[in-house]
């Protein structure tokens, strides 16, 4: 306040003459003038247009292929089998043929896609225990209450990994066979590791401590596998023992919940080391064989295989370039309207100022 303790002179209570207190701080006061607004609109429109075109061209050369195998080919019987929960342990294999019209050059990515699967439900997303999956010993056998009812099994044994998310993990295994015109069958080689975020694989998901004498299985002693799983977490990958436990790539990918009910998750990356795949995925006929485990019929979902290539910008995505182009057009229209208004009416407004 203006009151000063010190000083009793006639002006002792006079407020300071500082720019701040007198509200005279130096300031920039921008204002909307035709000279700034109209060019801004035109430039914005142009920038959006150029970006849109560039993105569109990029996307045009990014190929994507979707193969819905829910009940296609020989999978119909598996589909029907998986309708009933009692038959969940019965293995079922099926195959679906598909055709790749154009060669996918470069790196090719294989995704599994799910439709109408809600990984984004609040209680579903809460139903996990990150402390357990970071391998903390205390949490391993005392899963968070958020995991209920997937925290303990009927016998009271703690479940690892607990929760609805882990429990509902996608467990179809997919194999793609290339059928060149010569009638042979070549399995398309996939990298099944390195498909998760670095931070997830190395920080967020850790196994309980093991050493040479103390195996992963022993580390998970006292826990049980999730209800819907066929095998325990330490045996997820029967080929690569380093890909077992909480650091299994498929598990990590699954645990990163999708934001929307229709989503795809990375399954594998084409191994271009040899064979006809050094240049990418050649055009031609393919067969997809599936270990059909994941039931989608109960929630009226669909399953698909998505094969895609990526650029700097990611996979095929028409939304962004088109959105940019539309925006560019709208801004241009607005700019023209504004210019017209300014020329026709604005002049009058200007006269009023005087």
């Amino acid at each position: 306040m203006g009151k000063k303790q010190a000083g009793t002179g006639p002006l002792s209570r006079r407020p300071d003459n500082s720019a701040f207190k007198q509200q005279r701080l130096p300031a920039w006061s921008p204002s909307l003038t035709p000279q700034t607004v109209l060019p801004t609109f035109y430039i914005l429109s142009l920038v959006c247009l150029l970006l849109g075109i560039w993105l569109l061209i990029t996307v045009e050369y990014t190929y994507e292929l979707k193969v819905d195998y829910t009940d296609a080919g020989t999978c119909e019987q598996c589909f029907n089998l998986r309708k009933h929960a009692i038959d969940s342990s019965t293995p079922c294999k099926c195959t679906v043929s598909f055709h790749v019209p154009k060669t996918f050059p470069g790196d090719v990515f294989f995704y599994y896609g799910l439709r109408n699967f809600h990984q984004n439900l609040r209680r579903y997303m809460d139903s996990r225990d990150d402390a357990q999956m970071v391998g903390r010993k205390n949490n391993l056998k005392a899963p968070s209450s958020y995991c209920a009812p997937f925290d303990y099994d009927a016998n009271g044994k703690p479940i690892a990994p607990c929760g609805a998310v882990a429990n509902s993990m996608f467990n179809d295994s997919l194999t793609v066979m290339y059928n060149p015109t010569d009638g042979s069958k070549i399995q398309v080689p996939l990298y099944r590791k390195g498909i998760a975020w670095y931070t997830d694989k190395n920080v967020k998901f850790r196994n309980p401590p093991t050493n040479n004498t103390f195996s992963l299985q022993q580390a998970f002693e006292g826990t049980t596998r999730p209800l819907y799983w066929q095998r325990p977490v330490y045996e997820l990958d029967d080929i690569d023992s380093n890909n077992n436990g909480f650091i299994n790539d498929d598990l990590i990918v699954w645990m990163r919940e999708a934001a929307f009910p229709n989503f795809k998750k990375l399954y594998g990356v084409l191994n271009r080391a040899q064979g006809p795949f050094t240049e990418g995925l050649p055009a031609g006929n393919y067969t997809l064989s599936i270990n059909y485990n994941f039931p989608v019929e109960p929630f009226r979902g669909r399953k698909e295989l998505v094969i895609s290539m990526v650029t700097w910008f990611g996979g095929q995505n028409y939304f962004l370039p088109i959105a940019y182009l539309v925006t560019s057009g709208l801004i241009l229209v607005t700019a023209v309207v504004l210019t017209t208004v300014f020329v026709k009416v604005g002049k009058k407004g200007k006269n009023m100022e005087e």
């Binding site: 801004t40 914005l44 970006l51 579903y124 919940e257 999708a258 934001a259």
Partner: protein, 1163 residues
């Protein structure tokens, strides 16, 4: 009904009744009770309770869609800030309580005077007070050191009146002089219970088997100060909280601004909206759970208490209430208070509202009303002390056809130095015309006679404390000014007795025999004295209103009269109060004859007044004109300019004064509220309901347009000044006009007028007028005043302003803003008020926008996440969004924003209009903000949705995971609202830059920190967004999405703003930079011509009689001061007297006077 019994010197007896002790406690808490009591009080605020309720909801796991800390962090912050503030306030109250309670007083205990602390004084004690001491409790005055048991008190702390008042003890107790006798006193007082009526006390003293009635005249109230009385004894009747002072210090009514009320309405609407959203989403949830969720049960079974989709929907409703509550964040209330506090500080800091003379800065005493200062439509002003300084100065005079005192407008002219030749001259008297002094020195007889009149013809009392140090006690400041002028020009009035007047004429003492005082009254409008000078010649000296006096002049004065008349016109044009001065020589025979006549009239029992008037009339004839005086009722500095500017800002100014009509009108002219260009000035002066109604009707008919709609601004500045009406209404008419059946009529007529002056109004009427306008016009009212009589009006109006730096502090204490000069009002309203309003509106618009944009994203997401109340953002983002990421830029805007520079808003008062019309923030604006917010939320949800649901990173990993989506949306949101605030900020100070860029920086810093592995390794469950910022913000596609969303959100806003600017430019837009050609507005208000002055003394009749009878001579000068100042101060008394005595006589004359006045306007 008397239920209080007090026996003197008998503590045991009084103890039985358990009266309050004299210990006062204005503090609310102590250390132990602070926390519970303060919390209890705070939770009585609806907002706080609401957030507590939310917090409880969040603790229920089934519906907790957000962690409890999202609510508790802001809530605790708010509660603790308020608690700290309350604690500090209370600490100071404790301190002042302690200081008061520990004051020393002398209590008579067992016949001996003992020092006691105030708080130990009990009811029934006898205490001794000494001069200049505060009265410790409400006392019954028992005895005093002064004769007749009189004592004098000052009641400034009680009612703001600084004049002395007399209290007298009962004669039986006044004899009890010394402590020994008093110690034996065992009287018992039976009186009314404690109450807050300051001017009333009813009780009876029982002593020695006798009953003595007690009244307020016998009481000394706590808070008074004993003055000019050596000592006195009093019996404590009421102590501590029972005293009238404490009973009066009730909590003042909490004022709310219209924005506050609007905000509360809107918040209620938003709650309604929130419930609607909740219901929609709950229905969605029911449908979804039935159709989809039921099938999804194997993956996610319902929580145990949930057994069907309806119950799930019910829970979902509450979950969504929790999520969507951020549309009304608790920070809204805090931010509003912070902004208002900032604006208040700017008012306190304003050097241009600092008065160096009184060393007073402006003070915003209420910090919650600032934006309403930008919406004022009606100002109710007191006159004395507010518009005027209540100082009369002798400004000009016309003597024998020669005018003196013409102002030289050149460089500063040195005021005349009187002290050199006149040791008795008053030092503070200023006169600038040397020629008058020369004329006196040269011995011009007319000039001498002129000043002789002034020194003799008055009712002033003088007091000479030491040789040459004269102090005049004038009944009205006008008279004081005239006598002082005469004093300085060498005709010093020194003393008077009932029969003589002693003066010192040019250094020579002369004693005149005072033969008669022909006193002033409202009809006569003049006063005369008849004196016999030492030489034995008898002369009548007369001063009075020119119109009256000119009729009674000798015919030979014709020529001089014309010249003087011209001078008078000139003076009147300057708004000066004029008087004509004349004399008449009387022969001994004439005097003898007349005095016979006069005595007859004086003794008459019937029609004494009429007969006296006739007698006066008889002698006041054939007078010789000497000249005229012009007195300036000194206006406060810059009043006319301020009023002119405020009128241009479409603010209507009503003057509510207790003064006489003439005085009020005169001031109306001198401060340019009334001008001669006005089409007509209505005078409502009727005494009966009927006459008042007729007068109002007549006026209403003449007035062409009743209350022109405020939307139609006058076409030009010139027209807004001329061709208008004014209304003058007096208190007794107002009493009728304010009755229920006439108030509308009165209001309509009054509103059609540009100026309204209410004179002779009581404090209560002032409040009623304010209340009337407040109630019917739905306009913001401001009352400004300086005295205790303005308190009611100040408290009633939306905004009360007190004039500080003067003696009385009552008005200031009741006010919301105080400063020392009326002219600061223009700065308070046009600069501070306007900015506050603008800033608050911009703040609210933006605030609602940003929260809708933020919150509604959840709503859209609901349609994709099965209405499961999953939030879009990380919970930390939700917690911090309102209190960290977006709070400071908007606060900076709310505190510092300026649309036009301050001098521009004074040059173009029309810039004030948007506030009055409530254009910047109203329901329409609110809906626009909400719509913009919802639009933004749509864009912010669907653009990232469209892009991310199919996108992958450049390494093939899909981007459609929840955490990426959350970070993308949140980042886009922060960027969009930052761009929007940048667009809204009109005045980029360094602080704005710092806050806006700083907020963005803080967002990214906190984002990366929260997503770091360090935090995750400590709390893996809480910080599970590990690595997300890094992974997401490294992707070009994410930035392209954010950029696109920003463009789509902002471009339409920009386009609309530009269109609005182009098609409907506001004055503030066009006046941003162009310096305007100003000054023309004020030049218009030049001098006018018509004469309208009279005997404008604030006189009451009967004072002269008191002097000649010599009754008052016994009284000390002090008592006289009381008497003399009664007019200006003790309001109720005056009014009663006025109504009872003078008005029924004066009505006719005043009316005719103004009738004449009106005629002159028509010509």
């Amino acid at each position: 009904t008397f239920c209080k019994r007090v026996r003197a010197n008998d503590r045991d007896y009084n103890e039985k009744f358990q009266y309050a002790s004299n210990c006062i406690m204005t503090s609310k808490y102590n250390i132990i009770t602070f926390l519970p009591v303060n919390l209890f009080e705070q939770f009585q605020e609806v907002a706080n309770t609401y957030f507590l309720f939310l917090l409880i909801l969040q603790l229920i796991p089934q519906i907790s869609s957000l962690s409890w800390f999202t609510t508790i962090v802001p809530l605790v912050l708010v509660l603790s800030i308020t608690a700290v503030k309350d604690a500090t306030d209370d600490y100071f109250r404790h301190k002042s309580d302690n200081q008061v309670n520990n004051r020393q007083s002398q209590v008579l205990i067992g016949g001996i005077l003992q020092k006691e602390k105030w708080m130990n004084v009990r009811v029934g004690d006898i205490i001794k007070l000494e001069n200049n001491q505060f009265v410790a409790a409400d006392l019954l005055l028992l005895s005093s050191s002064e004769p007749h048991g009189l004592c004098y008190i000052e009641t400034a702390e009680l009612d703001g009146e600084t004049n002395m008042k007399v209290r007298q003890s009962l004669s039986v107790t006044s004899e009890l002089g010394d402590p020994n006798n008093l110690a034996q006193f065992d009287g018992e007082v039976v009186c009314e219970p404690p109450n807050n009526k300051l001017d009333r006390f009813c009780g009876t003293l029982y002593w020695k088997d006798c009953k003595y009635p007690l009244s307020n005249q016998n009481m000394l109230l706590r808070g008074c100060v004993l003055r000019n009385t050596e000592s006195c004894y009093g019996l404590v009747i009421f102590a501590g909280p029972d005293t009238k002072l404490m009973q009066n210090s009730g909590r003042t009514k909490f004022k709310r601004t219209s924005i506050d009320r609007l905000m509360n309405t809107l918040v209620l609407w938003i709650f309604g909206f929130l419930v609607c959203m909740g219901v929609i989403l709950a229905i969605g949830n029911a449908v979804w759970e039935k159709e989809v969720g039921a099938l999804f049960q194997s993956f996610l079974p319902w929580d145990p208490p949930v057994d069907n989709f309806l119950f799930s929907a019910f829970l979902s409703f509450w979950s969504y209430v929790i999520i969507l509550n951020t549309v009304v964040p608790i920070s809204l209330y805090v931010s509003v208070e912070v902004i208002r506090l900032g604006h208040s500080y700017f008012i306190n800091w304003d050097r241009r509202m600092f008065c160096s003379r009184s060393n007073t800065a402006a003070e915003a005493r209420t910090t919650t009303l600032n934006e309403e200062l930008g919406q004022v439509e009606y100002i109710f002003s007191d006159k004395t002390g507010t518009l005027t300084q209540n100082i009369m100065t002798f400004n000009k005079c016309s003597i024998n056809g020669h005018t003196y005192g013409e102002e030289q407008h050149m460089a500063r002219v040195q005021a005349l130095d009187f002290s050199a030749w006149n040791p008795l001259a008053a030092r503070d008297f200023c006169f600038y015309d040397q020629s008058l002094l020369d004329a006196v020195m040269e011995g011009e007889p007319a000039v001498h006679e002129f000043f002789r009149v002034l020194s003799l013809c008055h009712t002033v009392m003088s007091e000479e404390k030491s040789e040459g140090e004269l102090l005049y006690k004038a009944q009205s400041p006008d008279e004081g000014a005239l006598v002082t002028a005469a004093r300085n020009f060498g005709f010093v009035f020194r003393s008077r007795t009932p029969g003589t007047v002693t003066t010192q004429e040019l250094g020579k003492a002369v004693t005149y025999t005072l033969l008669a005082i022909l006193d002033f009254n409202n009809i006569r409008k003049r006063m005369s004295v008849i004196v016999r000078n030492p030489e034995g010649r008898i002369r009548l000296y007369c001063k009075g209103a020119d119109t009256v006096l000119f009729e009674r002049l000798h015919s030979c004065n014709h020529e001089l009269m014309n010249v003087t008349s011209d001078h008078l016109n000139e003076y009147a044009g300057d708004g000066l109060r004029t008087l004509a001065v004349a004399y008449r020589d009387l022969s001994e025979e004439q005097w003898e004859e007349w005095s016979e006549h006069f005595r007859g009239a004086d003794k008459a029992t019937d029609c004494r007044d009429d007969r006296l008037a006739a007698a006066y009339e008889e002698i006041e004839q054939d007078m010789m004109l000497l000249g005229a005086t012009a007195i300036e009722d000194k206006l406060q500095e810059g009043v006319p300019e301020t009023i002119a500017i405020l009128s241009l800002a479409n603010i209507k100014i009503w003057v509510l004064t207790g003064d006489k009509q003439e005085t009020a009108v005169n001031i109306g002219y001198s401060c340019k509220m009334l001008t001669d260009d006005m089409t007509e000035i209505f005078i409502v002066n009727g005494h009966t309901v009927q006459s008042v109604r007729e007068e109002l009707r007549y006026n209403g008919d003449v007035c062409p347009s009743k209350c022109p709609p405020p939307q139609a601004p006058p076409p030009s500045l010139l027209e807004s000044i001329s061709g208008e009406f004014a209304l003058i209404i007096s208190g007794h008419s107002l009493a009728h006009a304010l009755e229920a059946d006439m108030e509308r009529e009165f209001l309509e007529t009054a509103c059609a007028c540009r100026a309204v002056i209410c004179c002779r109004v009581t404090p209560l009427q002032k409040a009623l007028v304010v209340e009337l306008v407040k109630r019917h016009k739905k306009a913001v009212t401001l009352a400004i005043g300086d005295g205790a009589n303005d308190v009611s009006m100040i408290k009633t109006a939306h905004i009360g302003v007190g004039i500080s730096g003067q003696e009385g502090i009552q008005a200031v204490l009741a006010s919301d803003y105080s400063f020392s000069q009326f002219r600061f009002l223009q700065r308070l309203l046009l600069v501070h008020g306007r900015w506050s309003y603008l800033r608050m509106c911009r703040f609210l618009c933006y605030f609602f926008y940003k929260n809708f944009a933020f919150t509604m994203v959840h709503f859209w997401f609901g349609f994709f996440c099965g209405f499961s109340a999953q939030t879009v953002y990380d919970q930390y983002f939700i917690t911090l969004y309102n209190i960290v990421y977006t709070s400071l830029p908007v606060l900076a805007m709310g505190i510092f924003d300026q649309d036009v520079p301050e001098q521009r808003s004074l040059e173009y008062p029309k810039l004030y209009e948007p506030g009055q019309l409530n254009l910047l923030f109203n329901k329409r604006e609110f809906f626009i903000c909400i719509a913009q917010g919802i639009y933004t939320s749509v864009v912010l949800f669907f653009i990232p949705y469209g892009v991310l649901s199919h996108a992958t990173q450049s390494n093939g990993v899909p981007l459609a995971d929840y955490q990426t989506f959350a970070v993308t949306t949140a980042t886009a949101l922060v960027i969009v609202v930052s761009v929007q605030i940048a667009l809204d900020t009109g005045y980029w100070t360094a602080i704005n830059h710092f806050f806006i860029w700083g907020s963005l920086g803080t967002y990214f810093t906190i984002l990366f920190a929260m997503h770091s592995s360090i935090l995750f390794n400590i709390f893996p469950k809480q910080f599970h967004f590990l690595g997300d910022a890094h992974n997401t913000l490294g992707q070009p596609v994410v930035w392209l999405t954010i950029a696109l969303a920003t463009v789509i959100c902002i471009a339409p806003v920009l386009a609309f703003r530009f269109l609005k600017l182009d098609l409907k430019p506001q004055l503030s837009d066009t006046k941003k930079r162009k310096p305007g050609a100003s000054g023309s507005t004020l030049g218009r208000l030049g001098r006018g011509g018509s004469r309208r002055s009279g005997y404008a003394f604030a006189h009451q009749e009967g004072f002269g009689e008191l002097i000649t009878s010599g009754k008052n001579m016994r009284l000390s000068s002090l008592a006289l001061a009381t008497f003399a100042s009664r007019h200006s101060s003790s309001w109720i008394d005056t009014l009663q007297k006025v109504i009872l005595n003078s008005f029924n006589i004066s009505q006719y004359t005043v009316f005719t006077f103004f009738y004449e006045l009106n005629e002159s306007f028509f010509i």
